[in-house]
Symmetry: C2
DNA sequence: GAGTGGTCTAGACCACGAG
DNA sequence: TCGTGGTCTAGACCACTCA
């Protein structure tokens, strides 16, 4: 189907890919050093590095500066479930994801004002969430909520984020998905290379009055995340009948 | 916010980015040759090419082999509207998109059988759609429909695709979004570099009986496409009351 | 054929991580 | 400190586009 790529880096990448899929190189294992691999394939180091860059973009190999290149564990894909009211970037509970949340008070600025439809410097609360499987991060979320929607009583623990499920009757949730390169910060916190594209989701939730109750900026590593959106058309058909 | 990137290629990319945004380099214009730019910035050609690769990944620059590097027209972003029943990768009609459709008869094979929930070699019709704005493609779609749902009367013109709006009462539409590198074919038909990630959307639509009436594989260039999904929670709330 | 980008080489030097 | 990957150089050769 795909014509065999003539370039050397593709040939090398194909060979390593095969070795990985056939189990000659196991998950978590360290590859030989780039110098050794370059010698084995009789290419220069930049060429070999290009080959590894391909595998890295596919999520098969993880590069750790100073340590080596490692075979990534067999692609545990995270699934983001769209359609609203998920406190963090809620992945299906199937897999044990440790989610750490950090809450910060701040004031609206920049495009946050436009997203939330509030005036500049109006008080917000930011929830900075990272979910990990083991040591490797699987999602990064920055969730902004007008401060008056956050109950002042409890400590801003895990529960405060969860209240979004209950508090106001949700109206419309709009999620915009795009694919882009991570910012340097995102790349480091997600522990991915700056060349690996991410799924970037902007979620804006409004209550029934049209007020924005939540704006979330989600970043999911492109090599280990999908987003699923399900639409029930039967509901709309029924509604149309009325 | 973002610490100034120390590497030369980032510095060069930043400079070119500024020149583009300030209008010193206009859309559609050709950049000086890579050799000239390398000389101007006093770097080697590979380094300069790395800088251009960054701009290319951002969609600001388009490389045409043998012709030169060009400033891309100001990012006409296409928006894919999720939530079902759109015949092709229907972008909002705001912009004049020429969509060409080619219909082919084939039989289910490979993962198509799983997607559509049909037995192998059962007859399908494939719609191969490309939408362009001017000369540059904006989306690529392969839509598969069980052949018995396609009316045999009319020629498989534009209308055949549109009938999906009407014919069966739709049940559930599920759309899975991921970010990945294009296959070589996709890269060439979309006229993007193999390094630019695409938004890949798999859409499966079922009718009210649960039968799959359409499976679509969509590929949208990551630098000029978004996908938007809107969920109306009021409807669900009302439904829950009953 | 002249000029362009695409690939590759064979080194050099720096930055990071672990012992 | 030592081995690792990260960046860069200066030039070679090939492939493509256009006149």
């Amino acid at each position: 189907m795909t014509p065999p790529a003539p370039s050397r880096r593709h040939a090398i990448a194909d060979d390593l890919r095969n070795q990985i899929s056939k189990g000659h190189l196991k998950a978590g294992e360290r590859l030989p050093s780039e110098a050794q691999l370059a010698a084995r394939y009789a290419v220069s180091t930049p060429t070999l590095r290009n080959a590894l860059a391909l595998l890295q973009a596919e999520g098969l190999v993880e590069k750790l500066h100073g340590s080596g290149n490692f075979v990534r564990h067999p692609l545990h894909r995270t699934t983001y479930v769209g359609g609203g009211h998920t406190p963090s970037a809620l992945a299906p509970a199937e897999r044990a994801l440790h989610t750490s949340i950090r809450a910060t008070n701040l004031r609206a600025h920049g495009h946050l004002t436009a997203l939330l439809g509030v005036s500049p410097r109006s008080p917000l609360m930011e929830f900075f969430c990272i979910s990990r499987e083991g040591k490797t991060p699987h999602s990064l979320a920055r969730i902004y909520v007008p401060r008056d929607l956050v109950p002042a009583d409890g400590p801003e623990g895990l529960l405060t984020a969860r209240l979004l499920d209950l508090c106001p009757p949700l109206g419309v949730v709009q999620e915009t998905v795009s694919s882009r390169l991570p910012t340097p910060d995102e790349a480091t916190t997600l522990r991915i290379s700056p060349n690996l594209a991410i799924l970037s989701i902007t979620r804006v939730a409004t209550d029934t009055t049209g007020r924005v109750v939540e704006a979330a900026l989600l970043a999911l590593p492109g090599d280990r995340a999908d987003a699923v959106f399900t639409t029930h058309h039967a509901a709309e058909a029924r509604r149309a009948e009325r």
